[in-house]
């Protein structure tokens, strides 16, 4: 019959203390797991952003110098370690002044790294007032190499056949870092020789 009396106050207190300890442990576990998930998420996002940015730069850059009309106006126009700009006669009208924002079609493009903001920036038609827009944040640095046919660095834009892109990135908390590398063959320079 004693077992049917219910719990004593002490038993209740002990149970509550045990539950509190378990609860605190669970909260700690939750926080730890949440932080892990957030960090993993940040890391994945940072990697994806960096990869998307490099891929976007590479895909656009490979059209550099497209000059089907022989106008001579399409070329690499800026070659710095942390910036690159080029023109391409994409609509094949013998000029590089056209653009179409709807189809994301621009004949003059520039990319550069803003070290202060930690961003990779892109400007379409900058000579016509096109403003800079961030492509990716969390970019620690950008290193561009311009190589000729022999794989030697060159400053002659007409001799560039390969552009090597290296982009270093980090998560917002700076804990995780990584690098993405890609190489772009400039076929319009290769075919032109």
């Amino acid at each position: 019959m004693r077992g049917e009396r219910g719990l004593t106050l002490i038993e209740m207190l002990i149970a509550m203390i045990i539950l509190s300890i378990m609860g605190l442990a669970m909260v700690g576990l939750f926080r730890s797991q949440h932080q892990t998930v957030v960090r993993q998420n940040d890391g994945v996002l940072a990697t994806q952003n960096a990869r998307a940015a490099v891929d976007m730069l590479a895909r656009e850059l490979r059209n550099a110098g497209y000059d089907p009309r022989g106008s001579g106006s399409a070329a690499l126009t800026a070659m710095e370690a942390d910036s690159v700009a080029w023109t391409a006669d994409l609509d094949e009208d013998a000029a590089v002044t056209s653009w179409d924002p709807v189809s994301d079609f621009y004949e003059e493009v520039a990319y550069w790294h803003d070290a202060v903001a930690g961003e990779l920036l892109r400007a379409a038609m900058p000579s016509l007032g096109g403003s800079a827009e961030p492509v990716a944040d969390g970019v620690d640095s950008l290193a561009l190499s311009y190589l000729d046919r022999t794989g030697t660095a060159t400053a002659d834009s007409s001799q560039v056949e390969l552009v090597r892109i290296r982009l270093w990135y980090s998560t917002p908390d700076g804990v995780q870092t990584g690098a993405i590398e890609s190489q772009v063959a400039l076929r319009n320079n290769i075919y032109g020789e």
Binding site: V37, N41, Y191
Partner: protein, 416 residues
């Protein structure tokens, strides 16, 4: 409390353990769900990148396939279809057009001139290249990639040979030899035996033997048929329908015959002393006869499609013709200016044009589909067949040879 309740929950405290287990399970489920969601999202992004890259690679493969097709047979044979790793591509081609003029005049076919400039002002000259656009479109489901590349190639338009066998001097033919001026397909099938139009276009029947303005009138009557070779030609040239002389035809150098400027072929001249005939000739082969010596002599088979030239670049048949204004006796006596000699074709099937200063012999079972032109205007060109030989005029073979001469040039490329 009933007896059943007592059995199910004798103390009434076991519920805590169940709640705790459920809480832990829910927490782990949430963590697992979040991780799974992240993984699925990451996998989708990865697949997006992967598919985008793969469809782009398929479009590149299509461009390369199209370029190879263009280099092999020219702009014919398109569209080119293919598939790689589940991605299908189709490659189309068209001659590029643009209006370079100011004021605009509607535009014409774009040509690439020898100096590397483009123009449509005067059409494509003999040495200009027509610019073609290759466009490759690769697809897989909703993934699409389009790439475009411009290509050009020099397609020679040789002077139309006006006979299966043309010569600046008389010809002696002998042996089991068929010389047929009627137009054949590239496979050797006679197209129209009754065609007597002879308007000097490529695609029509010709005489078997044509003598040019550098040949003497007497040469016409000196066509020698030893061992009764068979000669077939256009009936217009009756009664000896197989032979004709046309003073408007002038053959001087290979460049002139091929519609090029003198010296254009200098870079591809090969020394007969070191030249080794390949298993199959493709394109233009130019062998210097070595100051009157023989080239391609012995037991060489001549197979392939293209143009075979055996010529001494110093030899000008007009300088050796006493009746010509350019006659130069000192050159006639100087062996350095002697005609080159195609020593012997010994077997093989050749499609195209053979141009030689002199031809000594055709031996073995030889088939030439296209035409032979002999430039020497003094010595009798003797073509003796030691086996069973056929020289069949074929406009189709000549055009195929013209299309196979020089490699394509890649001009520009873009991905859309």
């Amino acid at each position: 409390m009933t007896e059943r309740d007592r059995m199910r929950s004798p103390s009434g405290r076991e519920g805590f353990a169940i709640v705790a287990v459920l809480i832990v399970l829910i927490a782990l489920g949430l963590v697992g769900g979040a991780a799974l969601s992240l993984s699925i999202g990451d996998a989708r992004v990865t697949q997006l990148f992967s598919r985008a890259g793969e469809v782009d690679a398929a479009a590149s493969a299509g461009i390369e396939h199209g370029a190879a097709q263009f280099e092999g047979v020219g702009p014919g044979g398109f569209p080119v279809n293919g598939s790689i790793n589940g991605y299908n591509y189709v490659v189309n081609i068209w001659a590029d057009t643009f209006d370079y003029n100011s004021p605009p005049d509607g535009g014409r076919t774009v040509c690439l001139a020898e100096d590397g400039t483009f123009n449509d002002n005067e059409g494509c000259g003999l040495t200009d290249r027509i610019v073609y656009v290759l466009e490759s479109k690769a697809t897989r489901g909703s993934y699409v990639a389009v790439q475009r590349m411009r290509v050009a190639r020099l397609t020679l338009t040789p002077a139309v040979p006006h006979g299966a066998l043309s010569s600046n001097s008389t010809i002696s033919v002998s042996g089991d030899l068929i010389v047929d001026g009627r137009n054949h397909t590239i496979a050797g099938a006679l197209i129209d035996s009754l065609d007597t139009s002879y308007t000097k276009v490529c695609d029509e029947n010709k005489p078997a033997v044509m003598l040019t303005d550098l040949a003497d009138d007497v040469d016409v009557n000196n066509i020698k048929k030893n061992s009764d070779p068979s000669l077939y030609g256009n009936e217009t040239f009756a009664p000896d329908n197989y032979v004709a002389k046309d003073s408007t035809i002038v053959y001087v150098t290979p460049e002139q015959i091929l519609g090029l400027d003198e010296g254009d072929l200098d870079l591809i001249i090969q020394d007969s002393d070191t030249y080794v005939l390949p298993d199959s000739i493709v394109g233009l082969v130019y062998v210097d006869g070595g100051y009157g010596s023989k080239a391609i002599d012995g037991t060489n088979k001549v197979d392939g499609t293209g143009m075979l030239v055996v010529h001494n670049p110093l030899y000008d048949p007009r300088e050796h013709d006493p009746s010509h204004a350019m006659y130069n006796p000192s050159r006639v006596l100087d062996p350095a200016y002697a005609p080159a000699n195609l020593g012997n074709i010994n077997g093989g099937t050749f499609h195209g044009i053979i141009i030689a200063d002199k031809i000594d012999k055709i031996d073995g079972n030889v088939t030439v589909m296209g035409a032979i032109i002999s430039l020497s205007n003094v010595d009798t060109t003797q073509i003796g067949a030691g086996g069973t030989a056929s020289i069949l005029y074929s406009c189709e073979a000549i055009q195929a040879a013209g299309n196979s001469l020089l490699p394509a040039i890649r001009l520009s490329w873009k991905a859309e």
